[in-house]
Symmetry: C2
Subunit: 238 residues, 2 copies
């Protein structure tokens, strides 16, 4: 049986052999929610950069540049890290280069995987169906916060594990841990997320609408996959 | 308010500043359960070694040597890693040198803490009371399994966070995660633990009695603390 595993932090990814697995990168607040929202709304491609200055140079190549550090938009960049920005008319049909505090680091560390898939609550059922159709085992890779575990990515992992439980066996205890957390919290998700460290940070930046949006399930049915250096919508069933 | 935090793996401990905190090291199956059981039953001291060969040399100094790798007793050692062995008559009054796969590694990485305390379900309330009496913030340090998260250490962390919730604020999302898991699983702990990876490993070694014993709460009221290189029972209220 295929296996599902969960990596709770980029600082633990060295413990996982990704070479024969699909990886779902998740950074709910807000990098991967932005990517899903953007690609579902006509963004042509999204190229992630772990390094901010490398991202900045893409402006000269005609890209819109998107950047966030510590939850705030980078000076001189076209876009910050709000999924609502990624759905604006000016972004449609454009190529976007993006760098964020946690999400793009996790994508960068997923390089050896068979496929790198972008997950968010916004497309959770589409990602679950995609993984079920593939023959490989999978790792859900939580971007966390500067190496530490965070609640919203862990809960997403628990929700996705729950959707996969008839098709995948658990690869370690981490799926059990996050799934039990999800089962405990799912009935009052908004309440628990308000107590999370990340939501408190974002509250300081007045981004309640973003949090509400990022916690919505199945707004979109796109499955962004990494193709070369670019994230694009999976159309090919590749 | 004092803070409580949870480190889910030795590979994440670099993210925590331990220099002004008490650390509770936990390796439920079975290193810290052995330490608590032994010290509660008259073992004079327990000296942890991360390195197996360094531990072996202590035999010449009159210590009983205890060693486990991958769940099995090390060839030529006096004791393995069963809490029941640590309660035998021959161990009473003796000094023990011990090395294990995960638990002694975590103790080794706690060196900078104000105090290093040994936690297990066997002494959970005693540890909670001890932490409440101290002025420092605390980190619960789960030994895990070769770097990965494990269920029984995470659940212990959740149970201890729950006991501390009126006296400590959460230092990150990790306490929220493990506490919710504990709340979901505590009503059928034996059932969930049977599904954990570590219990499955131990099942192969036929050690059901150890698992049952290690999951008992408050069998003992000792609080082992590291004093120099030795774990001893806290008598001094230091």
């Amino acid at each position: 049986m295929k296996k599902i595993d969960v990596c709770l932090s980029p600082d633990l990814i060295h413990l996982y052999d990704l070479s024969d697995k699909n990886v779902v990168v998740v950074d709910i607040l807000r990098a991967t929610s932005c990517m899903v929202a953007g690609l579902a709304n006509g963004v042509r491609s999204i190229t992630p950069f772990a390094d901010l200055e490398a991202c900045r140079t893409m402006k000269d190549l005609g890209y819109l540049i998107a950047g966030e550090r510590g939850g705030e938009k980078v000076e001189g960049f076209d876009l910050g890290n709000s999924p609502l920005e990624y759905m604006a008319a000016k972004v449609k049909g454009q190529k976007v280069a993006v760098t964020t505090t946690n999400g793009t680091v996790a994508i960068d560390r997923s390089g050896k995987a068979v496929r790198v898939i972008i997950g968010a609550f916004l497309n959770i059922s589409a990602v679950a169906e995609y993984l079920k159709q593939k023959k490989e085992s999978a790792v859900i890779f939580c971007a966390g916060w500067k190496g530490t575990v965070n609640l919203e990515d862990s809960l997403y992992a628990g929700a996705l594990v729950e959707k996969l439980q008839n098709d995948f066996a658990n690869g370690s205890d981490a799926p059990l841990l996050v799934q039990s957390s999800w089962q405990h919290m799912k009935h009052d998700l908004a309440g628990f997320i308000k107590n999370s460290s990340h939501a408190k940070r974002l509250n300081r930046l007045d981004i309640h609408a973003d949090i509400d949006f990022c916690m919505r399930e199945d707004e979109f049915d796109v499955v962004p996959v990494l193709s070369g250096q670019e994230l694009v919508v999976n159309n090919s069933q590749a």
